[in-house]
Symmetry: C2
Subunit: 233 residues, 2 copies
DNA sequence: TGTCAATCGGTTAACGATAATCGCTTATTG
DNA sequence: CAATAAGCGATTATCGTTAACCGATTGACA
């Protein structure tokens, strides 16, 4: 009973299938931010009804990947500078606390999983695969969020961050230097997690995020919401 | 141009109308937590198509008021003890930071608005109107969130808290003592906001929330995620 | 020639009907 | 008699079509 011979069939509903397809198209850049997505056209291309497409778009809207305007249409989300700063600020609040909790509950197995994810990032970077390295990067952070044991917290961080990955990384030049930095910048987090000290983890996450998003944060008038943890003004 | 003579007509899409109707029914208790909501039945009662009802239910699912299971049906969300604890923990993280930012940007106008909201709460309590006092309570907190100037933060707090109000207050006895407490427990927040000191505001919010939700928090094994701010273990 | 209303093209919103899926009950069969 | 399959009722998922809506453009009229 413990291990079935067959995997449960995947695919879910047709709407989810469509949603996945569009999501992949957005990530891979086939749909550009700001570009309109027409329900009927998509329905024809994918051989499904408009209703199904609509349900998929509703899901994507929830995930923050598209925006829908009544009677006007759907377009790929194009995060404004302000949107990005806001998301980063909130992510900073949540992820530092999540990681601090994660380190408290850390098991050797979980630490091993994080090290594996780290290897995945490095591997993708070695292959110079930008898309996959971003996926691995996200997976690493997800593993940290999950470790907090708070599903609500995980869900919110996911909702907040997925569009960030989709649209921020899109702008960053994917040159070799940036990719190398992607590996290095995660190492202090892992080190802090190994140390088991919550304060160190908070600092590591804070440093990682502010560094990673430096180019989006500089020029922010109110840095307050961006660094609520240290520097208690 | 600045002030129109007429308000923009409300009502939005039919789907939103249905969604509002169901939301009100949930809040008022006409739909109980755990109760099934049948699409076709609702469609007949409201004289709209099943598609429209479905869109409404999708909206409500996003808001966390109902849960939908593929091919099984929709039911009113019944938050588990764990869900509630998780939401409180995350709300604590976000609202303390939001309020700290709000106090930094506070204007006399905004402070006046909060005082007005406070009067609304007191007024509803005097009328012994439980439902309205809960609405006013929520409005007070919303005003604080909005003051942070971070729309993303506002949205997340809303998403997180609305179901809390819907289902937590439902369980609390709405006796006179509880209602009086509802007024009193907000006063320290207002006082802290007037003082202008971020640290005081953080403490006030923390105190308010842990007090308000005491009955749901006691017995929590890991209080860590619930008090990430003070008492740095 | 400027203003406003009617029209038009394109798109989403809503509809009614059918198909697919689920859990449960009832047969069937070895 | 137990295990399994077939059938049933209820419900959601999907479909194709029609209605409503928005913004831009055209055209009439002062």
């Amino acid at each position: 009973m413990a291990d079935a011979r067959l995997e449960p069939i995947q695919g879910g509903s047709r709407g989810t299938l469509v949603s996945d397809a569009v999501r992949a198209a957005i990530y891979s850049g086939r749909f550009q931010p700001g570009e309109a997505i027409r329900e009927m056209q998509l329905a024809r291309e994918l051989r499904v009804s408009q209703t199904t497409v609509r349900e998929a778009l509703l899901q994507l809207e929830h995930a923050g990947l598209v925006v829908r305007e009544a009677n006007r249409g759907t377009r790929v989300t194009s995060l404004s500078e302000q949107d990005i700063r806001e998301r980063i600020a909130v992510r900073l609040m949540l992820e530092t606390s999540a990681a601090a909790e994660t380190v408290r509950r850390m098991t050797p197995e979980h630490l091993a999983e994080l090290e594996t994810q780290m290897h995945e990032i490095a591997s993708a970077v070695r292959r110079n695969s930008y898309y996959e390295s971003a996926q691995a990067d996200l997976a690493f952070h997800r593993a940290i969020w999950r470790g907090s044991g708070n599903q609500t917290l995980f869900r919110l961080l996911d909702e907040l961050t997925v569009p960030l990955f989709a649209f921020v990384s899109m702008r960053q030049s994917s040159n070799v230097t940036d990719l190398r930095r992607r590996v290095r910048s995660h190492e202090p987090i892992l080190a802090a997690l190994r140390s088991g000290q919550a304060a160190a983890v908070r600092k590591a996450i804070h440093g990682h995020l502010t560094t990673s998003y430096r180019q989006f944060l500089e020029g922010t008038v109110d840095a307050a919401l961006v660094s609520p943890d240290p520097g208690k003004s």
